[in-house]
């Protein structure tokens, strides 16, 4: 069986302007989402706070739960219907932490029993103090930074076989971070600064593949974060894990296409044929790209629908990331490499 005919030749690169507009719109939507929601919606892992998941063995309305908790004086209290179907599960969140959090599960349980007459089962309780939240946030950003650093070294070294240059780029990235950290700027600015420096260096040193891959990566992660923000979903530790996996996965796709381009470009001296050659490479790897994305999406959808509420957001982030990652390796990464290659002949 074949999904993609072997002689297929879609003019992907001809549609790069449409793709640019599409990507631009997605990025714009992400920015608007981020601005409206005032940054990512941090869950208790990063913002600190507490949550209690309760389960009833009979029908209880969300209003009843909320009313019975009103007397507890919980800051930023929110009650959410949790779980699918008739599981009668609720997730109670509050900004209260620390000493107030001690015995919170007990207090919640007692208040609900008093208010509704039914004793809930405490299924889960999480409390993260503000200091821990800050630490976890810092660690998560560091993790993103380090994976970007190592991947930068790897792709610039592996693809252009310029390990010394890749070392220089990595060094510059770290130096940029060092200088910015002297001025005590926040982690997001630090990472942005490091990325700008490495992109500028890729351009200057003509590491076009590395640059294409890096821009596609930033594109994917930014849009995934943006979509999360638009749907007002919680950012938690597993979501960071999902983002890092998306970084790896998106590169995986990009690398397959780039590998084919390099293979086809060998011995090709006529640079006017480059657009056709790039297009051909995408088409040759298209069936693989789509197949892998399809199989990955199949299992992720299974996880999304059947894996339960706790893993729900993680599965959602991965689904968004896989779709965006597949799109970006064809419509973002490759056009950028082509653009950089053509610039080189003209200039």
């Amino acid at each position: 069986m074949q999904l993609i005919k072997s002689d297929i030749n879609i003019d992907f690169l001809g549609k790069r302007k449409i793709a640019m507009v599409f990507s631009g719109l997605l990025i714009l939507a992400s920015i608007i989402g981020l601005v409206i929601h005032k940054g990512p919606n941090y869950g208790i892992d990063f913002a600190g706070g507490a949550l209690v998941q309760v389960k009833f063995n009979q029908d209880v309305s969300i209003g009843q739960v909320r009313d019975s908790l009103a007397g507890l004086n919980l800051k930023d209290l929110s009650v959410q219907d949790f779980g699918e179907g008739d599981t009668h599960e609720f997730l109670i969140r509050t900004a209260n932490t620390g000493s107030e959090g001690t015995g919170l599960a007990q207090a919640v349980s007692a208040a609900i029993e008093k208010g509704t007459g039914i004793a809930p089962e405490i299924r889960r309780m999480e409390m993260v103090g503000p200091q821990v939240g800050d630490d976890l946030k810092k660690q998560a950003l560091l993790a993103i930074f380090y994976s970007l650093l190592f991947i930068t070294i790897y792709i610039s070294g592996r693809f252009e076989l310029k390990w010394i240059l890749s070392g220089v780029t990595a060094g510059a990235m770290m130096a940029a971070v060092y200088f910015l950290s002297v001025f005590n700027v926040s982690m997001p600015i630090l990472i942005t600064g490091a990325l700008v420096v490495s992109l500028a260096l890729f351009w200057r040193l003509r590491l076009k593949y590395a640059m294409g891959a890096m821009i596609a990566l930033i594109h994917d992660v930014f849009i995934t974060v943006g979509i999360f923000c638009i749907f007002d979903m919680d950012f938690s530790l597993p979501i960071i894990a999902a983002l890092l996996t998306i970084i790896g996965y998106s590169l995986n796709d990009t690398i397959i296409v780039f590998d084919r381009i390099r293979e086809n470009i060998k011995g090709e001296s006529d640079k006017t044929g480059l657009p056709a050659l790039f297009n051909q490479s995408i088409n040759q790897t298209l069936s693989r790209t789509l197949l892998t994305s399809v199989t990955t999406l199949i299992v992720l959808l299974a996880l999304f629908f059947l894996g339960g509420e706790i893993i729900h957001n993680f599965a959602f982030a991965m689904i968004v990331g896989v779709v965006i990652g597949t799109y970006s390796s064809i419509f973002v990464a490759t056009p950028i490499v082509l653009f950089a290659s053509l610039k080189r002949i003209n200039g």
């Binding site: 998941q53 405490i122 200091q131 690398i255 397959i256 299974a302 059947l306 706790i310």
Partner: protein
Amino acid sequence: MKLLTLKHGLVLIVILAAIIWLLPTFTNTWPHKKINLGLDLQGGMHLVLEVQNIKAVEAELERTADEIKKELRQDNILHQGVSRQGNMLVAQLPDQESKAAFEQIISKEFSNLKVTSAGVQDGSIGFQLKLPEDEMDMIRKMATDQALETIRNRIDEFGVSEPDIRIQGKNRILLQLPGINDPDRAKDLIGKTAQLTFQLVDEDAGIDAALKGNLPVGSMLLYEKRTDPATGNTTEIPHVIKKQVLLDGSLLVNARVEFDQFQQPQVGIEFNRKGAHIFDRITGENIKKRLAIILDNTVYSAPVIQDRIAGGKAVITGNFTMNEAKDLAIALRAGSLPAPVTIIEERTVGPTLGADSIRMGMISMLVGGVLILLFMTIYYRKSGLIANLALILNIILIGGGLAAFQATLTLPGIAGIILTIGMAVDANVIIYERIREELRWGKTAAAAVHAGFDRAALTILDANVTTLIAAIVLFQFGTGPVKGFAVTLGLGIVASLFTALVLSRSIFDLVLQKKTTSSLSI
């Protein structure tokens, strides 16, 4: 025709080893250990405590202040107060003569203290004394170490199987307690400072005056909590207590639950010889006075001393429940914490939720897996079957790897395995697409397979290294469930490289050796 080469043997050994490691998880018979389940899957409690170890430094300074005062008294040197202010000591001396004597005592007996400033103020000479930075660091570190030891003792007595207790950073203690039924009771026990002291009640001071803030020098206001067993209401009774500690819990040798004449639980304590001697002396000196038994700044009881008590035994009453009495006895036996601890992170998962998570994870793995197997069979026909075999072995290898390295399987870890199922076929897809291309160019089956594997190998390596980098970084920074995800993702990548590049290739070689035709079901 060589059917079983060295490579094939190696492949078989790897697979067999994985199966052997994996078996105990399902059959419970093999000598090796089962796969560890994370707290989110088996239920349990994850706690991070912060040791307020600045309090240990302050306590050390208070002790030093007392000692300095004692020295000054012995040498009959006048002073207007030696006390702790923040993390330094402040001493006031009336004249030059006492200043010189004071300086001599400091340099002789307390040479570790650094004099940071000495100046004349309101006619008296003020001294500021500090502990050197490295000594403060050492006290802090010792407080954390000691807190860890104490908490470990308490947990051991509480009876938690396979607890994981370790120091995290400078002043944090991480506790992983699987299968806790009563998290609040465990938290109470762990967080109890269990600082036991015996102090006299200040009988001359009036309670009403004290409540208005009018406390005599050297006394403080503490409360006794009394719960009415009938109504469950708690009342707080104020007591004025002398600050001087006559005896503390450090001289205890034993504490256990006993019962009074009404069969109410109480905690019997027993002092060592030195403690017994002190107890004998203070009860003898204070007959008809009230001696307060104070635990963590709460008065438990303040009985009137009827007679000299020899033998070093006492009881703490305070209408306890059985569990409260048991936990108090554990806390007293395990010793007091050198500094108070606060819970700064807590994650508790009930056993039913853990079981549900496993069930849902397994269902999604099964459904996703079966869909992939079907898809691959339809799409690549017989070659698809080889890919499917590789996929199944892949999962066995991940399981075997988890058991062999005694890694912990978490809910995100299951998600990681499911994700790998989706990505594991990737390597096969890359190879098969390449083989199809080579076949289209008119190569024979054997040549196409050969070229397909050769050309795809490097691409596959490249593509997987990036995900592996992400997994390694996650492993390095992540804790708990996220680390579990990184482990399964990493294992999955390595396993899929092995099954695609070594195992699949071996099977193709075997199949093609027997075949004379150039057709290939792909």
